[in-house]
Symmetry: C2
Subunit: 365 residues, 2 copies
DNA sequence: CCGGCGTTCCTGAACGTTTTGAAAAGCGTC
DNA sequence: GACGCTTTTCAAAACGTTCAGGAACGCCGG
């Protein structure tokens, strides 16, 4: 019967709580809270007493409790198909940088290109009450249930590198049409006449955009669109290899590959078939990576602003979290054509696109 | 005055709570909770009523509230120097896979190789009450405050790819000594006599291990250790480039490079200097990646089980979270020597290490 | 001495769950 | 109809915060 209302001593194993600090320093919980959030008017005396107690108990505010009451977790969920795909790390890095800068953390999920996993991941993030979600949708159609889940998300939600016409959500993407268009124009400018395409899965929005850019550039250059010179892959190495075999058997003199992984596959096919680039055909790839510095020939490529893609997505998301109720936005970031050797030497090419070609840099292990 | 204790209707904008469900289905909160966690004895009648209400209100349990009371967040924090470094994505993937399998999520932080950021990240994760922390420490010494923070961490804590003698924490690492040893033995077996090393920062445990393996293998092969053939880099491309220039000026006939990024730099230096591999020198690198398939010559390399590194670290961590109080464990995973062409053709080499050399595979964008 | 105003501190009610201990209900037995 | 034993349901106390609404105090002008 002797226990007064709030007097249990701090249990040994557990982290100190705000009430432990309050007891230790002989003030109320309110005052401790005020000190922590350094609210204005706390007397110097008490403030110091409290700060001492905090240090002494090694107290750390419990952000879970804070989240519960504030209805904000300062956490954003990010779902990518596969972080091990070299495209995503830099995007995630961009996102994390921007998030950290504004006091947010990143909860990372891999969907493994499975729509079911993607759906589960969204549900989970929603249950964990993240403040917003970033999604790079897996390849493949919406299942009705997935669509329902996404439409039903009632927190800020930004698509990254994907967009869907009927969807009422924000999206941050690269200008894939433009990138492909420039790539193919460059091939044409360097004298190629029969230009082939190794495309990504046409169900993914960016693959379709790249295909459109390809087609329009052909038209602009007054080249004919030959259907047998277009092969659809799935953005993986193996499919680039197979597509390469199929495509090269038609002897195109130029190839535009819609992503890096398929380029790797293609180059293996090229070697097997005993062909030479740029002598036998010109090549423009997508995405730039540090290791391209040792590929021979040096690849001309369309670099996407991967880091920026992630950071702008987060910034948009946080703006929404902050209460911005504006209409859904579609933000397109410009790609950059980096001319190197795989279409023939740079001097063969009209000057307008020449620039220094910095090798992208990357940090330590 | 008319408001009874628990009767506010669900506010329109907000997610439904358990009490909304209780009210909707006319039962107590307890019963709803029992249904959610499908505890045994809830009458069939009520169970259905509750489930209907859950569907109707699109109710999702608030895991923040659950975490608060259960003192578990089902979240683990992971700190890496830089996810954009190609080594880490696969490790993170391994971690995420293992975590997901056991119902955990991953909160990802980049320390950017800054000890201060690393410290901040740990503090933050602690405040967010993650159930455990995975850390790949940034290069550089412990500051006293960082050391204090790490030692003071009172939740499960596993080091990944790093270990420190005096530290009383678990660690999961690759057997770097073994990897380097095998690499250098292979160089010696293929007839190289003056073998050089491009090392990582010797303050990082694995760099030191690799250096030890290098030295011992030389001794085993009865080769002399020539100090000018050892150059310390920082695991980045640029340093590999500089180290390559420095090292090659001494004309070694074999080089072992302690990581992939520095190999990229080295190969650029090699080309600039007009040298040829494997004719002028044999090369063994560390880490394998899909794009190595297009490097020429094909690189012989020591592959580390990156995915496994991540997944075993998480499994160990979760075991600790589960209450395992055993002594700190140091788990070493075996590397695998993948013999390709950069030391001369495989047939010149004694058979014991020959094996199929699968190109590692990777998923779509 | 009173009223008004600042400053400084506190009490107590949220936030959305889980869980303990106990009450109610159903049912068989004497 | 009293008693025990299950089965089903509940009310209320946690978990660690934030914050609205006051209270206590000192100071000033009247």
């Amino acid at each position: 019967m002797s226990s007064s209302k709030r007097s249990k001593p701090q249990k040994p194993g557990k982290a100190a709580s705000i009430s432990d600090v309050a007891r230790e320093s002989g003030v109320s919980i309110f005052t401790v809270s005020a000190v922590i959030n350094n609210k204005s008017h706390v007397g110097k005396n008490l403030r110091e007493r409290v700060e001492d107690a905090i240090r002494k108990l090694n107290y750390r505010p419990n952000l879970i409790a804070r989240s519960l009451i504030k209805q904000k977790t300062q956490t954003i969920g990010m779902i990518v198909p596969d972080i091990a795909n070299p495209f995503f790390p830099m995007v995630v890095r961009g996102a994390e940088d921007a998030a950290q800068k504004q006091g947010y953390n990143l909860l990372l999920c891999n969907s493994d290109d499975s729509l079911a996993k993607e759906e589960t991941a969204i549900e989970l993030l929603l249950s964990k009450r993240v403040d917003g979600i970033l999604l790079t949708k897996a390849a493949g159609d919406f299942s009705p249930s997935l669509r329902q889940v996404i439409e039903g998300v009632n927190i800020p939600f930004v698509l990254v590198m994907r967009t869907y016409p009927a969807l009422t959500k924000d999206a941050v993407v690269s200008d894939d049409y433009q990138g492909a268009y420039e790539a193919v124009c460059h091939l044409a400018r360097s004298g190629r006449r029969r230009i082939g395409l190794i495309s990504g899965p046409l169900k993914i929005s960016n693959a379709k955009e790249r295909w459109r850019g390809f087609r329009d550039a052909l038209e602009k250059a007054k080249l004919t669109y030959e259907p047998e010179l277009v092969v659809e892959g799935d953005y993986r190495i193996e499919s680039g290899f197979r597509a390469g075999h199929a495509l090269l058997s038609h002897r195109p003199d130029g190839i535009y590959v819609a992503n890096h992984l398929m380029t790797i596959g293609l180059l293996q096919a090229v070697e097997e078939m005993g062909l030479k680039c740029p002598e036998d055909f010109g090549l423009v790839s997508f995405d730039d990576y540090p290791w391209l510095g040792v590929f021979r020939p040096r690849l001309t490529t369309v670099e996407l602003p991967k880091h920026q893609l992630g950071s702008e997505a987060v910034e948009l998301l946080i703006q929404r979290i902050g209460g911005d109720q504006g209409k859904p936005v579609l933000k397109k970031l410009s790609p950059e054509l980096r001319i190197r050797e795989s279409c023939g030497f740079a001097q063969f090419v009209s000057g307008e696109h020449r620039r220094a070609n910095p090798e992208p840099s990357i940090d330590s292990p």
